[in-house]
Symmetry: C2
Subunit: 144 residues, 2 copies
């Protein structure tokens, strides 16, 4: 069973229909699983496959995929655009972090955990962390 068909199974399982458009969008997302994408980006990519698709469908599909936890919204920019990335199937949790180089604007994804920090927060504030969003800004190795 491929990565793609597992996501398709998630759509079917949720009771949603596996339409041509959803398949096309899903394929483009999986083929670009190492990138961050916006509705506009996806729309452009999918239009190469099927020029009749509408931007509204892309927005509605992103909303569905986010609800199904196929993709997640990542808060990496404040330019008024929503960006997403795929949630890996064998990702044990929803944690992933970004290193953004303020010199070359490169975005590096890392998976290192914050377990000890979260234990500390639990201890100090009685707050039980279930998810998080971490972006580190600075200069990457090649820009230093």
């Amino acid at each position: 069973m491929t990565q793609l068909s597992k996501y398709e199974a998630m759509i079917v399982k949720s009771g949603s229909k596996l339409t041509k458009q959803r398949k096309q969008i899903l394929k483009v997302i999986v083929d670009h699983s190492d990138e961050h994408f916006s509705a506009e980006t996806l729309y452009d990519l999918v239009r190469h496959i099927d020029s009749s698709i509408g931007i509204a469908t892309v927005y509605r599909t992103l909303e569905l995929f986010e609800k199904l936890k196929i993709i997640r919204n990542v808060k990496i920019k404040n330019d008024g655009v929503n960006y997403y990335d795929v949630i890996d199937l064998d990702e044990q949790n929803h944690f992933h972090h970004h290193l953004i180089c303020t010199t070359c604007n490169r975005i590096i994804e890392i998976a290192d955990e914050l377990e000890s920090y979260e234990a500390f927060i639990k201890e100090k504030y009685g707050f039980n962390v279930t998810d998080h969003d971490l972006t580190l800004y600075g200069t990457c190795a090649s820009c230093q």
Copy 2:
């Protein structure tokens, strides 16, 4: 010298004019220094003082204050609105984190550092962290 006049000094020092509108907006921000605010929120608050102010002025002022590091943009929601909070004058660095309770939606600000984690990132990726943005989601003490 009050907190307010220190911020006013920062405006003058930057070469910008200390207009009536900027003073009014600054006062409202300082009076609500424990909250996160949007342009709309500020606009509503300032209109109570001076009903002739324009929303465009609020946006332009937020842009100026952000550049002067009087306020910072916080990525706490994806509702298409930009939120800000005041940067405390005696804040040693620009680090501050949010705990967002997914049950009651309360936002708790904390100041605990991530120094050891950043040292680890430097070691492993050669990435030099100068700033960061961390939001932890979960359940607060009273919601558990």
